[in-house]
Symmetry: D3
Subunit: 202 residues, 6 copies
């Protein structure tokens, strides 16, 4: 389908956005489409990536000693994005999940059915909570937090799980509504023994 | 229920957040709970309000000549937050909607059933699009954009509607999961002839 | 929208209906629209209000020593009518709920999400049962009655909760299908310190 | 399962209810359980059967010149009661439907899938409207009335269809919640060439 | 409606199919429509009936010592076919269910609401498992097998329940999509004291 | 999770099944788990693969001149299996889809959201029909066939689409209920330039 929201030219972007785009390109070898798709709205772009980094980069997050690994954060994104049927996020974050977890099969597994995935019981509990925030947030109750605590997740971890789910619910809706397509590079990343480079985590 | 995520003390907050909280209090006469509830995570707080302002304050938005009024933006928030059963957002943004639209009944109407609300056909089309982004974003197609165009909404307006819906989908999940309660002041605002002051729009 | 089912002229109504309409007007200061909307079908009107009174006026009900207060009956109506997205009943009965419970915020709370409302655990159990009768009556089982009993509701109370839910399920469908609008007076009732008069409970 | 709400003894019933029960027994050869199940609450019983007669007995209804036949009224009941999974109403009203329509197969057909039933296009439109009132009454719009008009149903007929659906939605919930069982006699009625007698239509 | 997929002439069918059709006709007194409806695709026909017999004829099945009776197998078919709203299978297999269980009411009961049917707790557990395989197979977990074991069903019985449900999910979709109608003979079978003959179980 | 239904030893299998397993292993380089998982029930195994071949091998099918390519058949399987959240079928048939269509990205696309996949309008119509058979087979109507005809699919093609969807609905339920896992080999097949060998299409 023709693009309803074409990407802006790199040279027309504000300096901070342009710099970030070039940095990502340097690291990953290509520019993930979300960086260009949102750039047509610079204020939204800045808020989006600030939010992303506050949740996904553990060391910069509001819970730097939290128990969620980078891979687990991506596992939440992949699973809930599949529930929202968001092609961009399932493919792009599935790639990063494979790389961080060093498990080439796990992304496809959680995207299709997290109940059948080869993950730990702790990760299963994490994804059950995330799926409830994704699909029935109005019904979250004390019992849901207790199910997390049984696996060592405290209330700050619960906040991380919920906030990642909520943020990517936003991302899923923006990508789906606007027809954002994943870069072809993402589909194969982390599936073959040696990925060329560490990708940019968005 | 006891608060799982207590509000931080004002004096413990970073200066920029503290300043914003005091400014809001000055304007509205009270501090909407979302400003304190999210403040325990400063980086998330900053991203959240930056995103909010980029979407809700038309003059600062990425579409300053867009056709959505402030009241219509709040109408989208109230309607989709009701679909997500988010108590905080329905009550708080319903208040702001009443004030901006100068219609004391409209917030309750769109929260219960936007199809029965006393709104224009253009606003009805706007809300139909927003509800589809809220509940079935994977199924948005060209026909949905065409239904908007029939009422004078262009693709930038569509982006505004979708982005507001997506952002408050995030907000709804954060408020519901964490048990955020609306301030009592919101419930009555805009219902009686003279509200005391213009509220802070969050 | 134009009225598909216009109200009959007061003078064309049968005497008993006319007398009741005037009595309600005297008490409440206005005639709630449901009294006129249904009056075009006198036999249905009489059955409807007889059923209403048998369920909502405790002293005239089949369970005069039951434990549901008038406010709790209205709480059931408001909550389940919101699940059915019935504008008339949420607004009109929300008003009466606020007055009987003397809690100006509770109607908006249960209408948006009864799980987040400031109500007692007993009222929460009552509303959980009502919502199951409203949305999944085919799945009601012994465990649902036991959950009520744990809060002191016996089988006659359970009948009251179910019958009120079932009756207003009828009312919701009639109001929604026919486009019945709540009187503007209802929206503000019970929100401000001194409501002008006791309203007619329909 | 043991009966949670046992039937009252006939002799303990108020005279008017007792008289009606005996009359029904005389006509049908047995007492349909709904007459006894609801009799424990006389005021509710009277309202229920008054409402029933106002909708189902065309000559006593508010639309005596309406176009719905008795059989079509029962067809609406059977179809929507199946959507609500109400055993009592599907079996009891399916029996009366077979008798009135003189079609021994039609009740099973509409109960399983009205789209595959051997009915007229007009009846199909009638049932489509009824099913929308039953399951999505908040979404009824002008187009739904127009679809009826294309088959000769005017707004009074639409009211009949909606009111019958709404009333039996009440009946379905009462029967399901209380465990009301259909009398064994209903299952076979209208299936064999000569039913013994005309049944009582409830 | 006109038949989109007309039945082939008996004489045009391959010998093995023709022989089976004649055998069924001899036994049941008529040819159940499924035998002719699928015969237009001989290879599919053969696989379909081979699969059917492998599941429904206990002595020929992969679990000849399993605990499911023939009646219980038909009970699974009738219940799950009703969930899929398949007219052919509900009517045809409801007939066979009545005959095998010698209970003229049970088919209508499980088709409308298996929770209200006059069946044993063991059969209720069997149907709960079948309904989960029918509607939420992705969510089957250990607890579902344990609920079966509590009633004496081992893992081979669970396989039987699941496979029967899965196979008739196929059958339901074929019948509904192609407009297959049940033979009129099925509607009355097993309802009256003496059915003329044992029917062919498809 | 431990295997509830362990695979039988190859040497214990009937000769015909053993021969087929060895043939598949020779062709594909490994034995797809479905061949062993179902082999514990030989009669079911034979019917399953006979049905499979009758639908998926065009030249042996009941519609040898039909317009569905092998790749399109696999596209239907992958899309509807994702709707049923069946891990085995999405991964295994996604692999075969990539190979037949020679499009390494298409399987992930249709599995997440067929509306966003890079496929032809004709294939989109094919998948829309398949998804309706998968999820709402009771609602298939003439208009659905007409939508296919607009893209050149005749009624025999519609049968193929429906039958493939129905058969894999069976397969999905068997795989999900029994915990069947895809072979690791499938995940990468058809993604890298030269797959080692042509795989066995199940």
């Amino acid at each position: 389908m023709p693009t309803r929201y074409p990407f802006p030219e790199l040279n027309t972007l504000p300096e901070d956005i342009k710099a970030k785009v070039l940095e990502v390109q340097e690291k990953a070898g290509f520019v993930p489409n979300v960086f260009l798709a949102l750039a047509r709205r610079p204020a939204e772009w800045r808020a989006f990536f600030a939010y992303h980094d506050a949740l996904m980069l553990k060391e910069e997050s509001g819970n730097p000693s939290g128990s969620l690994t980078k891979g687990e954060r991506e596992m939440i994104v992949t699973t809930t994005s599949a529930a929202n049927k968001c092609l961009y996020c399932v493919v792009a974050h599935g790639a990063i999940l494979r790389i961080h977890e060093k498990k080439p099969l796990v992304a496809d597994q959680v995207a299709v059915n997290h109940r059948k995935a080869d993950i730990s019981p702790r990760q299963r509990a994490m994804l059950d909570f995330a799926m409830k925030v994704c699909l029935q947030s109005d019904q979250i109750e004390d019992a849901d937090f207790e199910a997390l605590q049984a696996h060592g997740f405290d209330d700050e971890d619960a906040w991380d799980i919920a906030a990642i789910t909520a943020f990517f619910g936003l991302s899923n809706r923006m990508a789906s509504f606007s027809g954002m397509q994943p870069n072809p590079e993402f589909y194969l990343m982390g599936r073959v023994p040696k990925p060329p480079k560490a990708p940019q985590p968005v």
